[in-house]
Amino acid sequence: MSAIARRYARAAVEVADQKGGIAAIEALFAGLASFRAAFKQNTDLREVLRNPVLREQRPGALEAVMKKLGVSAEAAKLINLLAARERLAILDDVVAETEVLADERMGRVRAYVTTAVPLGDVQAQRLARALEKRFGQPVALSIKIDPSILGGLVCQVRDVTMDSSLRNQLESLRERLLA
């Protein structure tokens, strides 16, 4: 993670905290995350934001996209600033740092969960509760779907990784067979 991304993220989180507290920080992170997803998925949006020839159309396109995504005002300001300074290449780092800072402000830990199928609401709540019990503080889930793990789930919190995936069991079996 670059120092520049860290500075942008810290500045945005502080502004959001001053204006709206934790809810604004949450909205900032949610807005940045949704914009990053749209930026990665939409080729036209990337073309508009990266092509210098289309610099005139950039504010309008950004405004339309952010309005459609419903991002918060602080998130919109940060995205506009990054686009104006040709810094959208560090958007991933800024979002990750914002996530970390938001979690710190809200006193929670982030659990990165990978499953082969989407988790149901009940499963997500059970998992969050189990992790809160395990780590003694609120847990926010970042869920990723990866069919290559075949089944089960992989959960990483801080430096602790709990891997009960079928892929991991197969790898363990391979290690035992080859040992």
């Binding site: 499953t115 082969a116 199928v117 988790l119 149901g120 499963q123 059970r126 998992l127 189990a130 992790l131 019990k133 395990r134 780590f135 003694g136 075949l150 089944g151 089960g152 789930l153 959960c155 709990m162 009960s164 079928l166 197969l170 079996l173 391979r174 067979l177 080859l178």
Partner: protein, 226 residues
């Protein structure tokens, strides 16, 4: 001088001994053979029979003069010849001695060379035998080492092949298992596995509880030691 006179006397005696029978024989033949009376004219002047005595005297004078006149040159010549022969003999003796010394030296050298050749041959034979033994020992050692190396290589290769085979079998088995899982697993199975994973996480005691338990265990251990 006495020696000279003695030699001269001997010469006269020789002449008389040799010539007298000849003179007598000639006189006898001159007077008609054996039956005639033998008459020798020694000193008279006779036109028919020459005076033999004077002839003897003339001969002796001649011989004396001859000896007197030629004595020194002949003597010098003989002495020179004697010295030359003596020098030649000495030179030859010296040459003989030198040659003999060379011969002895050469013979000694040849004997030394023979001895040296003999020693050399013996040494070469000894070295050859030693070298042969050394080569045989080295070959034996090398063959043993090669055999051990080959055994080690065979064992390593066998082990490696076994490991490769096990690995291949394991990989194939895992591939088949994975293919079977992918083909047969359903979303319901995946949801059930997630539920089971959540149950496993729920079973794990919290970090705080684990830390408290660890501290309590440590205190008990320390108290027990006291």
């Amino acid at each position: 001088m006495m020696n000279l006179w003695r030699r001269l006397g001997a010469l006269v005696a020789l002449a008389l001994t040799t010539l007298t029978p000849l003179v007598l024989w000639a006189a006898e033949e001159g007077h008609g053979g054996h039956d005639a009376e033998i008459h020798v004219n020694w000193w008279s002047r006779d036109m028919v029979a020459p005076p033999v005595g004077w002839y003897f005297v003339d001969f002796v004078i001649f011989v004396f003069a001859l000896v007197y006149l030629t004595r020194k040159p002949i003597r010098g010549a003989f002495i020179a010849r004697h010295h030359a022969i003596k020098r030649a003999i000495d030179d030859n003796q010296a040459a003989f001695d030198t040659a003999k010394a060379d011969y002895d030296k050469t013979r000694d050298k040849l004997a030394a060379v023979d001895r040296e050749v003999g020693q050399l041959i013996a040494k070469v034979k000894e070295d050859g035998a030693f070298e042969r033994e050394r080569i045989i020992d080295s070959a034996k050692t090398y063959s043993v080492r090669m055999r051990d190396d080959v055994k080690g290589i065979i064992a390593n290769e066998a082990t490696a092949a076994k490991i490769r085979l096990q690995r291949s079998v394991a990989e194939q088995a895992l591939k088949i298992a994975e293919d079977l899982l992918v083909a047969n697993i359903t979303d319901a199975d995946r949801v059930r596995m997630v539920d089971e994973a959540i149950v496993e996480i729920e079973k794990v005691e919290s970090l705080a509880v684990a830390a408290q338990r660890r501290r309590a265990t440590d205190r008990t251990a320390v108290g027990g030691e006291k």
